[in-house]
């Protein structure tokens, strides 16, 4: 039983990271129906921004996260404006290929600038370990979990309570109607990208602290898994992405905790396929009837 609870704790930290990335996926998908394949690479760049900020500016944990979030937000908006905006009326698959192109560009660009090797992420937190009832909880895990929860609460506040959040919900429901109501759709989409990318940036710094190593290709697999998390919870639904992220993270941790670490990725994909076959709209999604 100790193994189970220990892996539950590890899974919560891993799941926090997936959930933060999944939020960006789900928000972008909700608003322009694009699987933003480059999102995983924004998360990777977030880790590098945090790395650079800590190494060269000698800042602490919170300033590093804020710097990384700000830079990622700008980057997200720039990518949206240059690559995705001209394709707003193109086919979905064209937009998807563009996202893949952006992803290649960011990965190779980072490799060019920062080198292909794995870099050690500087430790800005104490490595204190708490032993509670036989369970091992590190200070980093607490920081990761708390930061994630705070960011999620802020996001919920923005989406539910502010004017811009209302605009985002309106555009994702029906962008044409929103435009007719006087909402600036382009600006709203840009802000969605900014918020999503900022969350990915935060996730990047957190993962750097958790695993203490970063590399230019680290975004690929977590990107896919975060997308699976978003689909699992119901894509386009913000609480769904949070729930999906935690669920996938915990499943993965438990599977590797019981000795199946070689198959932990396969388990994630099996979960995905099962959920898609049983309830394609995701766990929290509503079935939308197709109109002819």
């Amino acid at each position: 039983m100790t193994v189970f609870f220990q892996q539950l704790i590890n899974g919560l930290s891993l799941g926090s990271i997936y959930a933060l990335i999944a939020l960006g996926y789900t928000m972008v998908y909700g608003i322009i129906k694009l699987i933003n394949f480059a999102h995983g690479d924004i998360y990777m760049l977030g880790a590098y921004f945090g790395f650079l900020a800590i190494t060269y500016l000698h800042v602490g944990f919170f300033p590093a996260i804020l710097i990384s979030m700000a830079l990622c937000a700008i980057l997200g908006v720039v990518i949206e404006r240059i690559a995705y905006k001209p394709l707003r009326n193109a086919t979905r698959i064209a937009a998807l290929i563009t996202a893949i192109g952006v992803s290649y560009f960011l990965e190779a660009g980072t490799q060019q600038v920062m080198g292909t090797s794995v870099r050690a992420f500087p430790q800005v937190l104490n490595n204190q370990v708490f032993n509670i009832a036989g369970l091992r909880i590190t200070e980093q895990q607490i920081y990761i979990f708390v930061t994630t929860i705070v960011l999620m609460l802020i996001l919920q506040f923005i989406v539910k309570k502010t004017k811009i959040g209302r605009a985002m919900r309106a555009v994702s429901t029906d962008s044409d109607a929103a435009r007719l109501m006087g909402i600036n759709v382009d600006a709203t989409i840009s802000i969605t990208f900014a918020i999503g990318s900022a969350l990915a940036g935060a996730a990047g710094v957190l993962v750097g602290i958790y695993y203490s190593s970063i590399n230019p290709l680290m975004g690929m697999l977590p990107g896919i898994k975060a997308f699976i998390a978003a689909v699992f919870g119901g894509i386009g639904i913000i609480p769904g992405a949070m729930f999906g992220g935690f669920f996938i993270g915990i499943c993965e941790a438990i599977v590797s905790g019981y000795g199946g670490s070689l198959f932990k990725d396969a388990v994630v994909y099996i979960i995905l396929i099962v959920i898609l076959v049983i309830k394609p709209a995701g766990l929290l999604g509503k079935n939308v009837k197709e109109k002819v």
């Binding site: 699987i35 064209a94 192109g101 560009f105 990965e107 190779a108 997308f227 994909y269």
Partner: protein, 319 residues
């Protein structure tokens, strides 16, 4: 019934034989050096992959990202048989085994997932492809992550013949009644269902044919390039194939062939720039999609028969 060997088909035959003779001649004369020979071999494998994926995505409109998984099965069946039996016999037995496994797998994948649409289907097939790869990664007979080192049993002739056969099958399928049913599913699934087309059946047929041809590509790859390992068949491989298809134009087999050739040479040209290669490649993808979202050829095909029509029209106009 139309004659099998009409004028257009005769020209195609001449075109294939001529192309083969030309490439073979240039290779044996040493004008195409070893590096470019490898490029051409890669291009042929990519053409087979691209047309098989185009059948699923471009013709039937089912967005699959699991193609690397089917290629992986083909490659490993051929690879394992090459190890166990050896020689060309082993290779062809391997291809047959790969086709059987792939047919079963494609049915298992297709029947539940083809109910899904668009992005969901894409992500589900991606999951299946990765599961296949992870299984291969953890098997003993496949030698795990290290992969297999194989003798080269495939020569240019075999590659070329497989490519032509694959093209024949796919092009003829798209022009058959079943192929037209697939196209109607792409255009409007609900309308074609209302017209009495068994949409699930045709989607599954297209999917299985695509998977079978992808397994050839995998086998040819294994028989030609000495080394296979599971790291080659990640979803990025599926994306690479998808890029070829979309770049050439979804639904155009001519487009797939041309884009496989163009991208193959661009890739080998950029090889010398190492890291810059992927940067330029990524930028090129974005540019193509921004300025030409329907790909190079859209859904147009090159046909000798329409070429004749154009000539005869011109003659009539000039007379």
């Amino acid at each position: 019934m139309k004659k099998m060997l009409n004028k257009a088909n005769l020209y195609w035959l001449l075109f294939c034989v001529g192309g083969y003779a030309l490439l073979m001649g240039l290779m044996s004369a040493g004008i195409i050096d070893a590096v470019n020979q490898t490029v051409i071999q890669t291009i042929i494998v990519n053409i087979i992959l691209a047309i098989s994926l185009n059948l699923i995505i471009g013709i039937t409109g089912q967005f699959s990202l699991g193609h690397a998984g089917f290629m992986c099965v083909g490659a490993y069946s051929a690879g394992v048989m090459l190890k166990q039996i050896g020689g060309l016999n082993g290779f062809f037995i391997g291809i047959l085994i790969g086709m059987v496994i792939n047919a079963v797998l494609a049915l298992i994948v297709a029947i539940p997932t083809l109910r899904l649409k668009g992005d969901y289907l894409a992500i589900a097939t991606l999951g299946f492809g990765e599961i296949i790869r992870i299984i291969v990664l953890n098997m003993d007979i496949t030698n795990g992550a290290a992969g297999l080192v194989l003798p080269r049993v495939v020569d240019f002739t075999i590659l070329f013949v497989f490519m032509v056969v694959a093209l024949l099958i796919v092009v003829n399928f798209t022009r058959s009644a079943a192929g037209r049913a697939c196209i109607s599913i792409r255009e409007d699934e609900i309308a074609s269902e209302a017209m009495g087309i068994n949409t699930t059946k045709y989607k599954v047929i297209a999917f299985v044919i695509g998977a079978l041809i992808a397994s050839w590509a995998g086998a040819l790859y294994a028989g030609n390039f000495y080394v296979i390992n599971p790291g080659m068949f990640t979803y990025s491989k599926s994306i690479d194939i998808l890029v070829i298809v979309v770049f050439g134009g979804m639904g155009s087999m001519t487009g797939s062939v041309i884009s496989a050739v163009v991208l193959g040479f661009i890739n080998s040209f950029l090889q010398s720039f190492s890291n810059m290669r992927m940067i330029i490649y990524g930028l090129a993808l974005v540019m193509i999609m921004v300025f030409r979202p329907s790909g190079l050829l859209g859904t147009r095909e090159f046909k000798f028969s329409s070429l004749f029509k154009r000539f005869t029209k011109k003659k009539e106009a000039s007379q």
